[in-house]
Amino acid sequence: MDIHEYQAKKILNNFGVLIPKGRIAYTPLEAQKIAEKSSGSGMVVKAQIHSSDRLNGHFIEKSAGIGGGIRFAGTPQEVGSQAKAMLGATLVTSQTSPKGKTVSKVYVEEFCDCRKTFYFAMTINRTAARIELRLGNIEKETPKIQHDSFFTIPLETAEVTYQETLKGAEYLGVEAAKFHQFIAGVLQSFIKSEAIMIEINPAGVMPNGDIIALDAKMVLDDAALFRHKELSRLIDEDEITPLKRRAAINGFVYHEYDGYIGCIVNGDGLALAMKGLLKDDTACTLNLKGGVDRDKIAAGIKLIATNAKVEGIIINIIGGFLRCDLIADGIIDAAAEVGMNVPLVVRLEGTNSLEARNILNHSGLNFLMCETTLEAVQKILIAAREAG
């Protein structure tokens, strides 16, 4: 689960990481009031959407003016007007889709004059099964970090050692004691929140040598949220498209593309393999995962069958955990409720596939049965072309 900068900063600060003073605002007036109460020399107004590189982004609406999703303001009035420009407008960054994301809140924080900034991330090395630090010096001339030029420090245990700190401090040219304190705080946040990734880009060195998180991005482990009720509340439903949300309610994974063929599969691997074969013709993939509930499966199929972009549907299931007879029942339930108005190709293999074929053959439903993934892809493209 992704969370916002202001939420991540609050977690980091709870574990002792320094952050600039700031508050969240939903209206220009709120933003201005925050600035009025501040004693800082200047303020930063930051659009809160789930994306990095907001500084270099742009807004679709002319009313938002020139400039990205992070703007500097001298006076409270300026803070108010920058907030007004951004709130309700659509921000496009190098990480969002070209459609961008609507900004519904801004974070107003005190400007922090740092003599040096650097890239800092804490991630999990999957193969070694350990936590790692990734560091990068940010050069004034080329502020963008090259992802292959990180300085990586593996952390051997859940407590950062002074040796590990020293290596990083030397590389960055920062004070070791201050850096140690900074890493320890981030590491505590990482472990206690069961994060998968924390990125602080940039971190800054203040005139007194203190290290401060100027930005923060944090990804939490969905599977661990049951242990962290307070963190699961940080979800921002506006960040998830309605279809993805409807899929997620049933435990499914939905991906959308620009084509016209909808795919219902079980397994992320199979979804990607179908995408590989259908290429630009893929409208969406829905991964039913191990779903074992007839009603939920029907809900998933309805999601695709009622998608206006979809001109043909492939249901490609190789059942292990997921039983094919439940898929067949789900197809019939969905068709009875919303109809199947586009060509349907079905490939069912694995657990209870014979029962499933029997159920479908006696349903009176119009569909093509296929034996392989390749055949299903070829047949649906022909069928969709003929129907269109």
């Binding site: 193969t127 599977a223 959308e256 079980n266 292990g320 955990f321």
Partner: protein, 282 residues
């Protein structure tokens, strides 16, 4: 010879009384798998699917000597179930459970370092030695004993690989689902090594994932070997993300790395079959 499990392997099932476990374990028993007992805390003393159920792994192990276990417990209980198995001296753990917290897997991987126990998964469809033992949720009637070993980090695509092997007329020596999880136990290095040492296996199909470097680690090991069996690799993935932006480490770079290590790459799913029939096997 069979890898990891054969018809004599004594197997216990943790979480045996659950609905899914009951459905799949019954099929495994019918397949001829030597399931000897189950563990469900609080249900010790009953008989389920014809085998005794115990309250703890230790008790089950002491009474039956089953040194292989399959986890059908909820993802949230995997850490505790695994620690219990390690303490009891279990040698092979196959973890079917999904939604295992990542930090729990970090903990488990660390605990495994101090033992020689093999942990497979999480989120694995299991492992199967055709005609001998089925340990997991694999569909039946899909497998036939033969000379191709299959290793996979994608449950569903494992079945696609099996179907491709069948179509090519070869059959499987052993099929090992390494697990779909972000952090897995047994990796490609260890599993490639097992299959390379297995006389019955003449070639290997390897299904990877785009993220994580398990495939690269396996490929590096493979490159370092003197005599090598052919390995065909398929990885489902993309060079761009959902929003059309180029991914930091695109799939094509990963596949090129595999090629450079001497591995045969199937660019699309149907090519697994094409590459298989082009092999010159005994």
């Amino acid at each position: 010879m069979a890898v990891l499990i054969n018809k004599n392997t004594k197997i216990m099932v943790q979480g045996i009384t659950g609905t899914q476990a009951s459905f799949h374990i019954k099929r495994s028993i019918d397949y001829g798998t030597n399931i000897v007992c189950g563990v469900t805390p609080g249900k010790g003393g009953i008989t389920h699917l014809g085998v005794p159920v115990f309250d703890s792994v230790k008790e089950a192990y002491n009474k039956t000597q089953a040194d292989t276990t399959i986890l059908f417990v909820p993802g949230t209980s995997v850490k505790a179930a695994t620690m219990e198995s390690l303490e009891a001296g279990i040698k092979l753990i196959v973890c079917i459970s999904n939604n295992v917290p990542v930090h729990d897997m970090l903990f488990i991987r660390n605990a495994l370092k101090k033992t020689d126990t093999v942990f497979i998964g999480p989120e694995t469809p299991g492992i199967i030695t055709p005609d001998e033992a089925r340990l997991g949720i694999f569909p039946l009637n899909l497998f036939s004993r033969g000379k191709i070993g299959i290793l996979s980090r994608s449950s569903t695509l494992t079945y696609e690989a099996v179907l491709a092997v069948n179509k090519a007329g070869f059959g499987q020596s052993s099929v090992i689902g390494l697990g779909d999880g972000m952090i897995i136990g047994m990796d490609f290095v260890k599993s490639l090594e097992l299959l390379c040492q297995d006389d019955e296996t003449q070639a290997i199909v390897m299904i990877g994932q785009q993220y994580g470097e398990f495939e690269e680690e396996g490929a590096k090991w493979y490159k370092s070997q003197k005599s090598r069996k052919p390995v065909i690799c398929y990885i489902a993935g993309s060079d761009v993300d959902e929003n059309g932006h180029t991914i930091e480490y695109p799939l094509k770079n990963k596949l090129q790395f595999m090629r450079d290590c001497g591995i045969i790459v199937a660019d699309e799913l149907p090519q697994i079959y094409e590459k298989l029939i082009s092999l010159d096997l005994k």
